[in-house]
């Protein structure tokens, strides 16, 4: 009943639908990124920037609708912040795709396999974030969804440590080759941190509604 009062209006519904669309686009962009890595196709990566732009315009629409009066004032900041965090995940993904375009030598198979696995977990995290968002308005335990996101994040964290220690021993020809590779790994592994932050915000929104 309370949920219906808080989220039941037409502008609120419009915002919620757009937030879902925003996350769905993030999921698609993650899938596109993963495919680009698997096929080692730099042209495939262009779709990430396209989807990021689409995500950007939806984010602007969401924020405008909220400031036009959707939701009770105490909820507006949390919802806006959640949307902005999801947008940060888009930025990290776009940055990783952009660095990928400049990676000069093809990565060693072992390192590439790890990057593909991280990209796969990132996509699963996007999916879990959508599930967690749905749980806010439907029956379900939000805590178990955010725990699943934390489990995924921890896995990427462990892989990151291992990956970095192996990359330290890798020989690079010049400064830019090393910097691009380092930035690529940094952005790729940062996406999961941001999605975890977004799921934490869902928990805050859930608490504010009680």
């Amino acid at each position: 009943m309370v949920l219906k009062k808080v989220f039941g209006g037409s502008t609120e519904q419009k915002v919620l639908e757009n937030i879902k669309r925003h996350m769905q686009i993030l999921f698609s962009a993650s899938g596109c990124f993963k495919k680009g890595l698997e096929e080692w196709d730099k042209k495939q990566m262009y779709c990430v920037a396209d989807l990021e732009r689409e995500g950007d315009s939806i984010r602007r629409e969401i924020i405008s609708t909220i400031y036009e009066g959707a939701f009770l004032p105490f909820l507006r900041t949390s919802i806006c912040r959640f949307v902005e965090i999801v947008d940060e995940a888009f930025d990290a993904l776009k940055d990783a795709a952009s660095e990928f375009e400049h990676l000069v030598p093809k990565l060693d198979k072992e390192i590439r396999d790890d990057c593909i696995e991280i990209a796969d977990i990132n996509q699963k995290m996007c999916d879990m974030l959508m599930i967690a968002f749905d749980t806010l308005f439907n029956k379900g335990d939000l805590r178990e969804k955010t725990l699943a996101i934390r489990i995924y994040e921890k896995k990427i964290d462990d892989m990151k440590i291992d990956l970095i220690s192996r990359l330290r021993g890798k020989e690079v020809k010049d400064f830019w080759e090393g910097k691009i590779l380092s930035d690529f790994i940094t952005y790729l592994t940062h996406i999961s941190d941001v999605i975890e932050d977004a799921s934490d915000y869902l928990h805050i929104i859930n608490l504010s509604m009680r």
């Binding site: 178990e144 725990l147 489990i151």
Partner: protein, 134 residues
């Protein structure tokens, strides 16, 4: 859920004649709790050394970490399951054998490992996804 869906494919291994100190260093650096021990020769088989082995069999007995060799405390043979078996089967095996990790084999090759923590994480994720597709 099959074991190969949740197994860790990256296996850290160590030589049987390496000192325990090297094993400890490797486990701390890689944040892992066990190492695969390579066979000494063609007649030998793979084994495993765990944090538990090091604490109970070396540290607990005040043995020298540099003089004691990995091979001295290695558990052999490995407890393996085939790649395509259910996680439930692996868990039953862990319960019966009172162990916390099982190796995954494909023929004679060791292709992965699952621990209780991996099983728990996978089950929690599965539970969180219930009713939301794969």
């Amino acid at each position: 859920m099959k074991v190969d869906e949740i197994m860790i494919k990256k296996l850290e291994s160590i030589n049987a004649d390496a000192p325990i100190y090297d094993a400890i260093e490797r486990m701390i650096d890689k944040r892992i709790r066990s190492l695969l021990v390579k066979p000494r020769d063609e007649k030998d088989v793979y084994g495993v050394i765990t944090v538990r082995d090091i604490v109970f069999k070396v540290l607990g007995k005040n043995l020298d970490l540099n003089k004691t060799k990995v091979g001295d405390i290695t558990s052999k043979p490995l407890i393996c399951v085939n790649k395509g078996v259910d996680v439930e089967h692996a868990v039953n095996l862990m319960t019966k054998s009172n162990i916390t990790r099982v190796f995954i084999c494909e023929g004679k090759e060791i292709v992965g490992i699952i621990s209780l923590l991996d099983v728990m994480s996978a089950e929690l994720i599965k539970k969180a996804r219930e009713g939301h597709g794969a």
